[in-house]
Structures are given as structure tokens and as C-alpha cells.
């Protein structure tokens, strides 16, 4: 009993902060939308359009990132070379970059003075600029998603049993067959967990679109403009509460499905 009281006292401060500064604000947010806010986001076509483009951008980001990170994870899990750990450290560096910095790096890469533009001109072509288009936005999203998924997929690739692959190969499976029937099924749980993190992060991402001043109206940008420029608090609250519940649900489902592999 004494033990229980102490446990309660020790965890109470953290719970109090959670209640006062997260749960209660979330409650305010849920209510502030009002009937008007929630019906507006369901009936006005521009909010529906923004919702659809956000989901499409997040889905495309997830697909591209999983494709890249799975190949890199499989490769990096199998090779050992000098500087491997340095390379891994560099590849996970962008984890600590806020979305705005990622947006700026996309401009450094694909903006008017960007690396792609310089290279394309040096090769005698036109100045290629795509930082502010859908391609630029996707590039930024993939940029911050790769470091978030790579380590999970690499760890999964390291846990694959090499004997299964040997067996498949000695039974005459082609390299593609090995990939399809042995490697990918073995990595599927990690891919689901990493994909969910990727999807949820991309849905809620804001800084990158903000820095690129992108023409694509992703949901967080709409929330920001509704709140600051239009002072439309009801719609901003309704949208952000729905968005928050949705990203939380995606992550909770993924965690349940993967048995705790998803953060």
C-alpha cells in the first residue's frame, strides 16, 4: 500500500502536466469547432479537396519512401565497409531538422539557384526548377521521411534468416523471386510500422510546405491560413482536431498490428 502511494505521487506530476496542457486543450479544440466548423469541412469543396490532396501526398510519400528505404535497408544491412557508421550517422542527421529547414534544403536542391539548376545548365540544358511544385513538396516530404524509416527497415533486414534465402536460391529461385517470396514477406511487419509513421508524419507535416510556400493546399497549411489570415477559428479547430485524431489512430493501429515496433 505504501508502495502504491509512492508510485502515485511519483507519476502524478507527469499526469498533471499531460491533463492540464494536453488533454484539456484537446477538449477545447474539439468543442471550438462547433456544429458550423465540422459541417463546413464536410460540405465545402475546398476543404474536401485539401483533404484529398493531403492524403494523396502522404500516400505517395509513404510509397516512395518505403521503396527507397527498403532497398537501402537491405543493402546496408548486408555490406560492411569503412565509413559505414559515418554514412549511417549522416543519413539520420535530417531527423533533427525542422520542416522549414527541409523546405529550405529543397530550395537549395531544386530552386532557381539550386544544385539541379546549376547542373542542368552546365550540361547545356535549360534551368530546371521544381522546388515550388508538387514534385518539390514530395521531394521535401521524402527527404524527412527516409531517416525516420531507414533504421527500422535496416534492423528488420538484419534479422532476416540468411538460410531462408540460401534455401530459396538453391531451389532455383531467381533474384527477383527471392526478393518477392522471401525478403519482402520477412520485412512486411517492419514496412507496415515504418509506413504508418511515415504516413502520419506526412499528414501532419507543416514546416516544409510553409517554407516552400507551396501551391499545393495541404491540410496543415489550410489550418494555418484559416487561423491566422482568415481568423476562422471554428474551421481551423475542427480541421486540426480531426487531423489530430486521424494521425493518432493511424499510429495506434500500426503499433497494435506490429506489436510495439512503431514508435
Amino acid at each position: 500500500m505504501h508502495d502504491r502511494l509512492r508510485a502515485g505521487l511519483l507519476i502524478a506530476p507527469a499526469l498533471a502536466v499531460f491533463l492540464a496542457f494536453f488533454l484539456i486543450p484537446l477538449g477545447y479544440l474539439a468543442v471550438a469547432g462547433g456544429a458550423g466548423g465540422y459541417s463546413a469541412i464536410l460540405t465545402e469543396p475546398r476543404f474536401l479537396r485539401s483533404l484529398i490532396s493531403t492524403l494523396l501526398v502522404a500516400a505517395a510519400t509513404t510509397a516512395i519512401t518505403l521503396f527507397i528505404a527498403t532497398i537501402m535497408g537491405l543493402f546496408l544491412a548486408r555490406v560492411r565497409f569503412r565509413g559505414r557508421s559515418t554514412l549511417l550517422a549522416l543519413l539520420t542527421l535530417p531527423l533533427a531538422f525542422p520542416g522549414v529547414v527541409v523546405g529550405y534544403l529543397v530550395i537549395m536542391l531544386a530552386g532557381r539557384q539550386g544544385l539541379v539548376a546549376e547542373v542542368s545548365m552546365a550540361l547545356g540544358g535549360d534551368r530546371i526548377v521544381f522546388a515550388y511544385s508538387l514534385a518539390g513538396l514530395l521531394l521535401g516530404y521524402v527527404y524527412f521521411s527516409i531517416p525516420r524509416t531507414l533504421l527500422t527497415l535496416m534492423a528488420a533486414a538484419e534479422k532476416l534468416d540468411p538460410r531462408l534465402e540460401e534455401a530459396a536460391r538453391s531451389l532455383g529461385a531467381s533474384p527477383f523471386g527471392v526478393l518477392r517470396d522471401v525478403l519482402l514477406p520477412g520485412m512486411a511487419p517492419a514496412m507496415a510500422a515504418a509506413g504508418a509513421i511515415c504516413f502520419a508524419t506526412a499528414t501532419g507535416a507543416f514546416g516544409t510546405a510553409f517554407a516552400l510556400a507551396s501551391r499545393i493546399d495541404v491540410l496543415p497549411m489550410v489550418i494555418y491560413t484559416q487561423f491566422t489570415l482568415q481568423a476562422n477559428l471554428a474551421v481551423a479547430a475542427a480541421l486540426s482536431f480531426s487531423l489530430g485524431i486521424a494521425t493518432w489512430a493511424v499510429l495506434a493501429l500500426a503499433r497494435g498490428a506490429s506489436g510495439g515496433a512503431a514508435a
Binding site: I11, V17, L90, V101
Partner: protein
């Protein structure tokens, strides 16, 4: 490993993606110390932009450091006891509390910030003080501190350590400060580095919580990206990198050491 076509494809692909992730960082760093971005690096190197940025935006760097440090102290005080309780109790209630406490990570910062403004925006002078940003950062960073400490608490044999100390007549305070804390140093360090890194880079929440008098580093960066010339924006980004990269490297080193220890145990 057989170096067939699969190896070379994998190598080229990995190098290409690494270039995509790393080259823009270098491009930005170089632009920050180049005399004239239009001419390129042949125009010479300079620290002028960095000094200019410091003169105009130095305050944002200092405020960010202040908030990060305060966030660290608070998350240490709240997170370590919470993790300790969660590690010692296996029941459903403990798991539900754990699930609830990590929720702020899953909800976009924009939503949390909007909720905070709705709930406390009109309370006294809170809205215009840096405490408002601090509150947001604590809510967002606490789960990371808790999880880092919890991971180490679950990896060590906490129960047996405590029992041994208890058998020797140690009081609870002696056990907690003399046995538990020294054994989870690594987790506390990893969590601390994580919290400071996250707080320094937090943007989604801070953009809504800040006022013109409480601008943090990332908020200042966003402003610089739209208002300043490339050299200045890059120099400002360079200052951010100079703060964040050593922290992240230290964190990777600590986490690597922890994994090694766990592996050899």
C-alpha cells in the same frame, strides 16, 4: 557476399539517395560563407553573413537555448519518476497511462498549439511570455524523455537491484538515488540529448505559440527564408546546424554505447 549485379545496383542506388540527403546540406553551408551566391564560391569566403545574422537574430538563438534548457530540466523532473513507476508496474492501468502520456507525439503540433491557445490564450500574461512556448515544448518532449529512460529501466534487472539494496537495509531514497539513477545514466543522457535537439528544432507548435517578442530559432529561420537573401538565410541555417549537429552526434554515440552494453550483457 557475392558482388553480382544486385550489389552494384544497390550501391549506386544507396549513393544516389545519400547524395540527395547530404548534398543540399553542404550546398547550404557553403552558401552561408560565400561572398556572392550568384558568382559562386570563386567570389571568396566570408564570415560577414554569419555576423550579420547574429546581430539581427542572435536573440532567437539565445531564447531557443533558454527554452531548450528549461524544457530539459522539467522533462527530467517529470519523466524519470514517471518512467520508474511505469517500469515497476506491469498492470493494465500502467500500460494505459503510458499510452496516454506518449499521445502528444502522435498529434500534429499545430493541433496541440491551437488547443493551448484556446484553453490558456486569455490567461493573464501567459500568451505573451516565453512560458507559453515552454509549456508546448514540455508536452511534446516529455514522451521522448520518458521512453528513453523506460527503455533502459526495462533492460536492466531493476527488481533484483532494488531487492539487493533493500536487503542491505537501504531506504527507498537511498535505493532510488544510489542504485537506480546511477544504473540508468545512459538512458537519461540519451533522453536529455533528444529533448534538447527536439526543443531547439520545434517549429510546428512554436509558430502558433510565439509572439513578435518571443521568436525562437526555427521561427526566425522561417522568417529569414522569406525575407532575406540566400547568403543570410544560409548563414542562419549554418548557425542552426552548428548547434544541432554536435548534439545529434553525441546522441548517436550514447545510443550506440547503450546498444553495445545491452549486447554484451
Amino acid at each position: 557476399m557475392r558482388r553480382g549485379i544486385g550489389f552494384w545496383t544497390g550501391l549506386c542506388f544507396t549513393l544516389l539517395i545519400s547524395a540527395f540527403l547530404i548534398l543540399p546540406i553542404f550546398a547550404s553551408v557553403i552558401a552561408g560563407v560565400t561572398v556572392n551566391q550568384f558568382v559562386g564560391i570563386s567570389s571568396g569566403l566570408t564570415t560577414r553573413w554569419i555576423l550579420d545574422v547574429w546581430a539581427n537574430y542572435g536573440g532567437t538563438v539565445l531564447l531557443s537555448l533558454q527554452i531548450a534548457f528549461a524544457t530539459l530540466v522539467i522533462t527530467l523532473l517529470l519523466g524519470i519518476p514517471a518512467a520508474y513507476v511505469l517500469a515497476r508496474h506491469a498492470g493494465v492501468t500502467a500500460r494505459l497511462i503510458e499510452e496516454a502520456l506518449v499521445m502528444p507525439v502522435a498529434v500534429p503540433g499545430l493541433a496541440t498549439a491551437l488547443g493551448l491557445i484556446l484553453a490558456y490564450g486569455a490567461v493573464g500574461g501567459l500568451r505573451s511570455s516565453w512560458y507559453f512556448i515552454l509549456v508546448g515544448h514540455v508536452v511534446f518532449c516529455l514522451p521522448f524523455m520518458m521512453r528513453a529512460v523506460l527503455a533502459v529501466l526495462l533492460a536492466i534487472d531493476l527488481h533484483r537491484l532494488e531487492e539487493a539494496a533493500r536487503a542491505c537495509g537501504a531506504s527507498w531514497a537511498q535505493r532510488f538515488f544510489g542504485v537506480v539513477l546511477p544504473n540508468i545514466r545512459g538512458g537519461i543522457l540519451a533522453g536529455s540529448l533528444m529533448v534538447v535537439t527536439l526543443s531547439l528544432g520545434e517549429f510546428n507548435m512554436t509558430l502558433l505559440l510565439h509572439t513578435p517578442f518571443t521568436r525562437t530559432l526555427p521561427v526566425g529561420l522561417a522568417d529569414a527564408y522569406t525575407a532575406l537573401r540566400t547568403e543570410m538565410a544560409s548563414a542562419y541555417t549554418l548557425i542552426f546546424f552548428a548547434l544541432i549537429v554536435p548534439l545529434l552526434s553525441a546522441m548517436q554515440w550514447v545510443v550506440g554505447r547503450l546498444d553495445q552494453q545491452r549486447g554484451s550483457r
